[in-house]
């Protein structure tokens, strides 16, 4: 699978490097659908990339998808591609043919990214998956990231199916958490790179500010958070491939917690280093940092996921803590 993944990741990287720009992000925040970008993503078969190959997809697993989502985050891609990929994955896992075009993903009671442009909506309550063609959308937008986010009038489902047990009763929430964590991982990388570049060019006191230890210490700490998030996300994707979404709850929750904490810490640091220019509307830094703050709240903030795994650990008790932490990947490997 990694060969297909590498090809897709490279294609997505090239597409986004060519097609995204601060102007495109600003237009999307004002409600303009990035039609050309979406059309190219569709032409590459990306929305159906997680659908099995015999059903017309590329058969990507969760780890592969997370690698693609990482790239989406790095470019702050203003299209709901990750949501559409996850929706198609859940539909096909439940034996429902994923329709072409943009499929919105319903995560709990959260508004749906770009719902107004969705031909279909997938929801996954309690281990079932239902495909809807919503009858209408109440338009809104994210408070911080400002991306269009709409509430559907659902109407009756077009079709319904059951997910395999390994995906559990919270599949959309778990998939959404992995998606948001992966996007955060990518966006963190981008803001760190931007800030290192800035620190090496901006001069004060006759030298680049990146030469000052105070600045170096901050950015080194930031790099630790960036690396931790990337590892947590990769680990979560691997676990989901091995044990299904529900079986990977610990790893996905961990990734969302680490990503959420890292988003806060890193955004503090990169704004501190950029100082006043980074606080302006004109400078593109906030196009990424506002998404970091938005994505950390998407599909459950740290509080929700930390409480879930903390509750399990408390019930299991101190004598199982270390054994549980180490056995997860060894049970399947043994």
């Amino acid at each position: 699978m990694s060969e297909i993944r590498d090809i897709l990741v490279e294609q997505v990287e090239r597409l986004l490097a060519d097609r995204t720009s601060p102007a495109l992000l600003r237009a999307a925040e004002a409600g303009t659908w990035p039609e050309a970008l979406w059309a190219e993503a569709e032409a590459l078969g990306l929305p159906l990339a997680m659908v099995p190959e015999d059903q017309g997809g590329a058969g990507l697993g969760w780890a592969d998808a997370a690698a693609v989502w990482h790239v989406l985050g790095r470019h702050a891609a203003p299209i709901p591609l990750g949501e559409s990929m996850a929706a198609a994955a859940l539909l096909s896992a439940a034996g429902i043919a994923a329709p072409a075009g943009f499929i919105g993903l319903g995560i709990g009671s959260e508004p749906v990214a770009w719902g107004r442009r969705a031909s279909h909506l997938a929801v996954a309550p309690g281990g079932a998956v239902a495909l809807h063609a919503p009858t209408g959308w109440q338009q809104g937008r994210g408070l911080i990231a400002r991306e269009p986010a709409d509430r559907p009038s659902l109407g009756p489902a077009l079709t319904e199916g059951r997910l395999p047990a390994a995906h559990g009763p919270d599949a959309a929430l778990l998939a959404g958490a992995l998606l948001n964590a992966a996007r955060i991982a990518g966006a963190l990388e981008a803001v760190l790179d931007m800030t290192v570049d800035y620190a090496n060019t901006r001069k004060q006191f006759g030298r680049a500010i990146g030469g000052f230890q105070a600045v170096q210490q901050l950015l080194a700490r930031c790099a630790g958070e960036v690396a931790a998030t990337a590892v947590a996300v990769t680990n979560a994707g691997r676990a989901a491939d091995r044990r299904g979404l529900a079986g990977a709850e610990f790893e996905i929750a961990s990734a969302k917690v680490v990503a959420g904490e890292a988003a806060g810490i890193a955004a503090d640091i990169v704004h501190q280093v950029h100082a006043a220019i980074g606080f302006t509307d004109e400078h593109p830094l906030h196009l990424h940092t506002r998404r970091l703050w938005g994505w950390r709240d998407g599909a459950g903030p740290e509080r929700l996921w930390a409480s879930r795994i903390g509750t399990v650990a408390l019930a299991r008790g101190g004598s199982n803590l270390w054994a549980d932490l180490t056995s997860r990947d060894e049970e399947t490997a043994a």
Binding site: A220, E225, A227, V257, A306
Partner: protein, 379 residues
């Protein structure tokens, strides 16, 4: 990100069985450990324990059979290390030998040195200390001044080392000494060499230094015309800086850089069940622990592949130190003394004190972050 890579690594196939053996052994050995033992863990020192560990083949696990080693993989060794640390076992009497002195001798030592030292390290009989810091050379290690002067048949050492953990209990130390001409400020990293020094040689005086807990953890060592024979030079004369720096990748890479305070979480967990803030706080701690473990495993994998992941190790150590240092403080906010057993409170108190050392030993936070910053391209 700027050439820093962390590729996930699985633990080896035999890990569950290996863990079961270790857990049975540690449960028995640790039956009567008072809280001070896990609080010090690898800074603690227990020769009997280390000999038992040696008997079971858990020291020098990856080394060649010719010297008594187990020829097992670095990932199997990793499993042993993390099991020991997770319960805070007092591994100090073999830890340094297994982690860095032995590997250094194996890589760069003479055949004679390998035959003399490795089998005894493996049996848990030979304890090593690290002679790096000096009174005027801490983070600025390359400024060190303790000299080894060439004399017929060997070297004569004069100077002082400090903060050498457990030196007063150890058999040997690997000392980094200045052998080149009087220090040229432009070439401070040159003219340094590493020596095996018997801690009981004539002319050596070791003065334990009480730490803030009140324990005799580290020492000041004075060398007064100490003679060591030529056969105790390790590696190449004048290459000591490069040799010691490569050694630091081993020193900084291990699970001891994030697990130091985990025994406190294990110990305190059951008494946190009635605390409303506990689920979220414990969840956050576990999310970080699981992630640091994967980062640490990734570095272990690179070591297994024969790479020298010095920068990755610096990053994991820095992130791990932050974590293990924050853990006792976080638990303090959750623990209600009225319903917490005295041994948990004692461990919390001890770890609150000992945790100060986490971001100092093996390279301070500031030095590590300087290494990471250079890797990021900051100048």
């Amino acid at each position: 990100m700027a050439g820093l890579r962390f590729d996930l690594r699985d633990t080896p196939a035999g890990a569950p069985a290996l863990r079961a053996t270790l857990r049975a052994f540690l449960a028995e050995a640790g039956r009567d450990w008072p809280p001070i033992v896990p609080a010090y863990s690898w800074m603690g020192f227990d020769r009997d324990f280390s000999r038992e560990v040696g008997k079971r083949g858990w020291i020098g696990m990856t080394w060649p059979a010719a010297y008594g080693g187990g020829e097992r993989s670095a990932m199997e060794r990793y499993v042993v290390l993390e099991e020991m640390l997770a319960v805070g076992a007092p591994v100090g009497a073999h830890w340094i030998g297994d982690r860095q002195s032995g590997p250094l001798i194996l890589r760069l030592g003479t055949e004679e040195q390998r035959r003399e030292f490795l089998p005894r390290i493996i049996r848990g009989e030979l304890a090593f200390a690290i002679g790096l810091s000096e009174p005027d050379s801490g983070s600025d290690l390359a400024s060190l001044r303790t000299r080894a002067e060439k004399v017929p048949g060997g070297w004569r050492i004069n100077g002082r080392k400090v903060w050498t953990t457990n030196a007063h209990r150890c058999d040997f130390m690997i000392a980094l000494l200045r052998t080149g001409p009087a220090q040229d400020p432009k070439a401070r990293h040159q003219g340094l060499s590493q020596f095996l020094v018997d801690c009981r040689l004539s002319g050596i005086s070791i003065r334990p230094i009480l730490d803030l807990v009140g324990e005799e953890g580290f020492n000041e060592i004075t060398f007064d015309d100490v003679f060591v024979p030529d056969s105790m030079l390790v590696g190449t004369e004048g290459q000591g800086w490069e040799q010691a720096t490569a050694e630091l990748a081993f020193e900084r890479a291990g699970p001891e850089r994030y697990l130091s305070s985990l025994p406190l979480l294990t110990e305190a967990l059951d008494d946190l069940r009635a605390e409303p803030a506990a689920p979220e706080a414990v969840g956050r701690l576990l999310a970080r622990a699981g992630t640091l473990r994967q980062m640490s495993l990734a570095v272990a994998g690179m070591l297994q592949d024969g790479k020298t992941p010095a920068r990755e190790a610096a990053l994991v150590k820095d992130a791990g130190n932050d974590y293990e240092q924050a853990l006792p403080e976080k638990l303090r906010t959750l623990i209600d003394p009225a319903r917490t057993p005295p041994q948990v409170q004692e461990m919390l108190g001890l770890m609150t004190m000992v945790a100060r050392s986490y971001s100092l030993r093996g390279g301070t936070r500031e030095i590590l972050r300087g290494i990471i910053a250079r890797q990021l391209g900051l100048r």
